[in-house]
């Protein structure tokens, strides 16, 4: 039976709903399987991880996580048996492979670098972007259209095209391999996106709110802070997610400009492969942990993200 209502041109029939549902579920599976596979690999033992045919049923092991957070050295069985009993699980699995833990790995500091650089640059880009967007939205800026186009044009070329000049500049300025350098770089890349997105959101907030506040005795800055910002939170959150995702995932510049103290997680994770054979569980464990912050942030702000994607089309 087909129904036509006044509200929709084609009313969804139970069958079409079921077909749509199936397509969505299939698509979700396709997208989620690689993630599940990475997580599964991270809790496999190294032999299981490279077994062929691939093991779907296996005994989980935390070895990948042990290897991710530690560096190990190979020792003779005699030396190992002379040691006192293993203090914890990681000690135990390491000794089974004729190795002992030599110390913590660089993963944790690299992960912290990623957090500092990604969140730091996101904050800067959103902060500068909000102020610039407010200015463009509310004031008569001379050559406003040209300036906005200029800001947008910085995104028209893939950032990596300017990698070599930036590399040389950073070397001269002493910004290579520094968190400050990476924050500045990611802020510069993200700020144009932030200005454009936020301008759209701020344009939607009627001027009357600030005018009311200014008549009520508040300065422009105070009315911006107390009246405009609270209403722009949706837009700010959506913009922040986009900036964060870019800065968090960025690989090319990080690989080129950071190698030591300021190295972020993306260029670090592949280097794990080299340490003591092809340690896929450790790589998968690093990737899994790397996914968590962005996942949490995105799930927390999913409504704003949706609105950010459809911005302009949906009105409050």
């Amino acid at each position: 039976m087909s129904l036509t209502t006044a509200h929709s041109v084609v009313a969804p029939t139970p069958l079409s709903k079921r077909i749509a549902g199936t397509i969505v579920i299939l698509y979700a599976l396709v997208s989620i399987v690689p993630l599940l596979w990475i997580f599964a690999t991270s809790i496999k033992t190294p032999p299981d991880s490279i077994a062929y045919p691939p093991k779907v049923i296996f005994e989980p092991s935390a070895e990948g996580y042990c290897n991710l957070f530690t560096t190990r050295t190979r020792q003779t069985p005699e030396y190992i048996s002379s040691l006192p009993p293993a203090a914890n699980f990681c000690d135990e699995v390491t000794r089974k492979r004729n190795m002992v833990i030599a110390g913590p790995s660089n993963f944790l500091p690299r992960f912290v670098n990623s957090l500092v650089i990604a969140f730091g640059s996101t904050f800067c880009a959103v902060f500068l972007g909000t102020l610039a967007a407010y200015g463009f939205s509310r004031f008569k800026v001379p050559l406003a259209d040209d300036l906005l186009f200029f800001i947008l044009s910085t995104r028209m070329m893939p950032p990596i095209a300017v990698a070599v000049p930036i590399y040389l500049m950073y070397r001269e300025l002493g910004l290579s391999d520094s968190a400050l350098g990476m924050i500045l770089l990611y802020t510069a890349v993200n700020v144009s996106l932030a200005v454009w997105l936020l301008k759209g959101f701020i344009d939607e907030i009627p001027r009357e709110y600030e005018e009311a506040a200014m008549i009520d005795g508040y300065s422009r800055l105070q009315s911006f802070w107390r009246v405009v910002l609270p209403q722009a939170t949706t837009g700010i959150a959506a913009t922040a997610i986009f900036c964060l995702i870019f800065a968090w995932n960025e690989y090319a510049f990080a690989a080129l400009l950071t190698s030591g103290t300021a190295q972020t997680a993306p260029p670090f994770i592949p280097t794990i492969i080299g340490e003591g054979g092809q340690d896929w569980p450790a790589v998968a464990a690093g990737t899994t942990i790397f996914l968590i912050p962005i996942l949490v942030f995105t799930v927390l702000l999913r409504k704003q993200l949706l609105r950010g994607i459809t911005f302009g089309a949906v009105r409050k």
Binding site: P206, E208, Y209, E211, A212, A213, M214, I215, D216, G217, Y218, S219, Q222, V227, P230, Q231
Partner: protein, 365 residues
């Protein structure tokens, strides 16, 4: 409380003049209405008084103090916006108390004053609600509350009833006027609705194309319009114009339109022969077969207590408001008698009223 004095105020936006040389004085405690169609410059004038726009030239004095170039927040005025501009992230109480917060008023006093204002406006039961769920009338009252709570020098209102439905509007017109009577603050009110203006104002300025056509009390504006534009804008149906060609001499007390001699207030100026228009309100026309001013009835609109009869005469179509009981039929030939003391005369070319005993005193801005 304050007197507002506007002197030769002018505002040009790139390429067009929104307000041309407006001058008027709003006395302390007066309810002043700026009336006109959209785009006539009334809102721009209001925004200049508020300090939201800076004038191109001219002066604005608030209680004798020149505030023309002062910031909005330094003027001590309150503004009620057409769409109320209630802060959506605050509840009703915070919205009303917001202006006091910046003045450093202690929290306990803010609370007391918000409560007092809420009682005055009968919104004390919704103080803790979010503003987004409020009905139009309540939003209106909250916006008023936010204006009143500060006890400012004057209130500026930009079509505050424009978004309410008509039933509610009548109620709010009454409430606003009553509120004004109680607190007696100088108020400048902008509207395009002549009924709102007539029922609330102490003084009205009728604006058109950036020019104040007439400034006066509602009675003056209605009975002694200074221009044909004002005469046509006010009243429903508006004033009728009977076109004729004649010269005038000071002291004349009648004009002749197509053989019909019509008595009117004594004319106070001489005029060379020109195209003129006799202005008559629908309620000042009677059907009278003895009159030489004749026409044919085109139709009638029954309004309950009265009816509007449309009559085509040689000098133009007129609408007369006559008792509902009178029986009229389309096609009938009737005579029209005009109520002499209430007639106005205009020069068609300029639209200006010609000075008569009636129009004397009707100022032109």
């Amino acid at each position: 409380m304050a007197e507002i004095r506007v002197e030769n105020l002018r505002k040009e936006f790139s390429g067009f003049t929104a307000v041309q040389n407006s001058s008027f004085i709003v006395a302390d405690g007066e309810f002043f209405v700026m009336l006109g169609p959209s785009g006539c410059g009334k809102t721009t004038t209001l925004r200049m008084i508020a300090g939201l726009e800076l004038p191109t030239s001219g002066r604005i004095l608030l209680d004798g103090e020149d505030v023309t170039m002062k910031r909005a927040r330094e003027r001590d005025i309150a503004f009620v916006f057409q769409l109320f501009a209630l802060y959506p992230h605050m509840n009703v109480r915070k919205n009303i108390g917001f202006p006091l917060l910046t003045q450093g008023v202690p929290a306990a006093e803010i609370r007391a004053r918000v409560d007092e204002v809420a009682r005055l406006l009968r919104i004390d039961h919704i103080l803790d609600r979010s503003v987004s769920g409020l009905a139009g009338g309540d939003r209106q009252r909250v916006a008023l509350g936010r204006a009143i709570v500060r006890r400012p020098k004057c209130f500026l209102m930009d079509e505050p009833l424009g978004t309410l439905d008509s039933e509610f509007r009548d109620l709010m017109v009454h409430e606003l006027r009553e509120l004004h009577n109680r607190i007696g603050a100088t108020t400048v009110y902008v509207t395009h609705d002549q009924l709102e203006a007539m029922s609330m104002a102490d003084k009205i300025a009728v604006m058109n194309h950036g020019v104040i056509e007439q400034f006066g009390t509602p009675t003056e504006i209605y009975q002694r319009p200074a221009t044909m534009y004002v005469a046509d804008f006010m009243g429903s149906p508006p004033m009728n114009f009977l076109k004729f060609h004649a010269g005038l001499a000071q002291g004349d007390a009648s004009v002749t339109i197509r053989d019909a001699q019509i008595v009117l207030p004594t004319i106070r100026e001489d005029r060379a022969p020109a195209e003129l228009a006799l202005g008559v309100r629908p309620e000042h026309i009677r059907l009278d077969d003895s009159s030489k001013l004749r026409g044919q009835i085109l139709g009638a609109e029954y309004l309950g207590t009265t009816q509007i009869v449309v009559v085509e005469t040689a000098a133009g179509v007129v609408k007369a408001r006559i008792p509902a009981a009178a029986s009229v039929h389309a096609g009938e030939q009737v005579g029209l008698a005009l109520n002499g003391p209430y007639l106005s005369l205009f020069e068609t070319a300029t639209g200006r009223a010609i000075a008569t005993d009636l129009s004397k005193g009707a100022a032109h801005g």
